[in-house]
């Protein structure tokens, strides 16, 4: 945010803007993102069943999907969801709710290749998030590998800070 403007951020939160987020905020954001992925997965499942219903309405039965298949589909949805939102806005919906933003080593919104790689790493090794607990710079495993960061940013647009 440029100097001289009135900040909509509460006074007590202004000092944290731009600083790296800790494990609690990031975990809560991941929980929200997980719910989003679940909703998307459920939507895909319902859509698949609807498609099957339209093909065989009389002999329709819910598609029986194995847990492994659901897991892989869910991981794929999460991969696309993370990569797309980070490329488009630099934040997922969970990050938006918690006031977080993913930035690259220059503090800018990650580009598509970086977002894709980070998304793949997050989906493959989700427990890597908790590396930020022991990291002196609050970096997760993915952040440490890709030189990215997750910061507090309550403003909607990147670069407002």
């Amino acid at each position: 945010m440029s100097e001289g403007r009135i900040s909509p951020i509460p006074r007590e939160a202004r000092t944290y803007q731009g600083q790296r987020a800790g494990v609690v905020s990031r975990t809560l954001a991941c929980v929200v993102d997980g719910l989003v992925v679940l909703v998307l997965l459920l939507s895909c499942y319902l859509g698949l069943n609807g498609f099957v219903f339209m093909l065989q309405p009389r002999s329709f039965q819910f598609v029986d999907v194995s847990f492994v298949a659901l897991l892989f589909v869910g991981m794929g949805i999460a991969f696309l969801y993370f990569a797309g939102t980070w490329t488009a806005a630099g934040r997922t919906y969970g990050c938006h709710v918690m006031g977080l933003r993913v930035v690259d080593r220059r503090g800018m919104k990650p580009r598509m290749p970086l977002a894709i790689v980070r998304s793949a790493l997050c989906v493959a090794v989700p427990i890597g998030l908790f590396w930020c607990v022991v990291s002196t710079k609050r970096r997760s495993l993915q952040d440490a590998l890709l030189w990215t960061s997750v910061i507090y940013d309550w403003l909607p647009h990147h670069g407002d800070l």
Binding site: S25, V97, G107, V134, K137
Partner: protein, 267 residues
């Protein structure tokens, strides 16, 4: 020898006039005696001569106009006219001569020093009625001749007011409410370009962007509460980890690290 005799002898010895002065004193004494004798004789003769002279100058048998007294009166009238002419001539001569003489005299004496030595100025001034003089003065005319601008230029009015005027007391005595009541606030506001000011303020603070940001990011109080609690949780976890790690000072744990370890926000 008595005291009187001694005094006379001493007086005779001390004040012994010169011979010329003694002669002058003798002449004066003789003249004075002669005058006194003449006065006595004339006074005695006048008792006899005055009625006789009156009878001679105004004989009863002579008609008026032909008496000696009338002739003497005409002669006296001519003498009076001659005297008045002489007085006029003398006065004119004095008018011409005296200024010259006085100028020559004053040029040869220091009149100021003369007055200072021989005139008791204090006594003279003490008898002057200064109040009466001041009463007769036209002070308005005196003040009108004053160059007030020059007088004010020589005065440091700021210093005078600062040192001699109780500004707090003056202000305390002012009824500010009454002053404010007399102000025509509407006229003052009417002179302001409120529309222009409002446009400038809105341009400076970018109000639409603020509204957009406020509604887009900082949503509800509950979301703000969750965010602040999560930030507090981040700090608490960080402090616990730092305590176990024993690598940071307690003060450093208060401030969450920024990108690349810097304290400033992300560029």
């Amino acid at each position: 020898m008595s005291d009187t005799t001694v005094t006379k002898i001493v007086h005779a010895q001390v004040i012994e006039p010169e011979p010329k002065v003694q002669a002058l004193d003798l002449a004066i004494a003789v003249t004075a005696g002669a005058l006194a004798a003449t006065t006595v004789v004339v006074h005695g003769l006048s008792r006899v001569t005055v009625p006789l002279v009156g009878l001679l100058v105004r004989p009863p048998v002579v008609a008026p106009g032909y008496r000696p007294a009338d002739w003497l009166e005409r002669v006296a009238r001519r003498g009076r006219q001659q005297r008045q002419g002489l007085e006029h001539d003398v006065s004119g001569a004095l008018d011409r001569v005296l200024p010259l003489v006085l100028a020559e005299v004053l040029a040869r004496i220091d009149l100021t020093d003369l007055v200072r030595r021989h005139v008791d100025l204090d006594a003279v001034v003490a008898q002057v009625d200064i109040d009466a003089i001041a009463t007769r003065l036209d002070l308005d005319a005196v003040v009108a001749r004053l160059d007030m601008d020059a007088v004010l230029d020589r005065l440091d009015l700021n210093q005078v007011v600062t040192e001699r005027v109780d500004l707090d007391g003056v202000v305390a005595g002012v009824d500010l409410d009454a002053v404010a009541a007399r102000l025509d606030v509407e006229a003052i506001v009417a002179r302001l370009d409120l529309a222009g000011i409002a446009e400038d303020v809105l341009a400076a603070i970018d109000l639409p962007e603020i509204i957009r940001e406020a509604t887009g990011s900082v949503t509800s109080a509950s979301v703000r509460g969750v965010r602040m609690r999560s930030i507090s949780g981040d700090d608490a976890v960080g402090r616990v980890v730092d305590r176990f790690r024993l690598r940071r000072a307690a003060g450093a744990a208060q401030d969450p690290p920024t990108i690349d370890g810097a304290e400033s926000p992300v560029p």
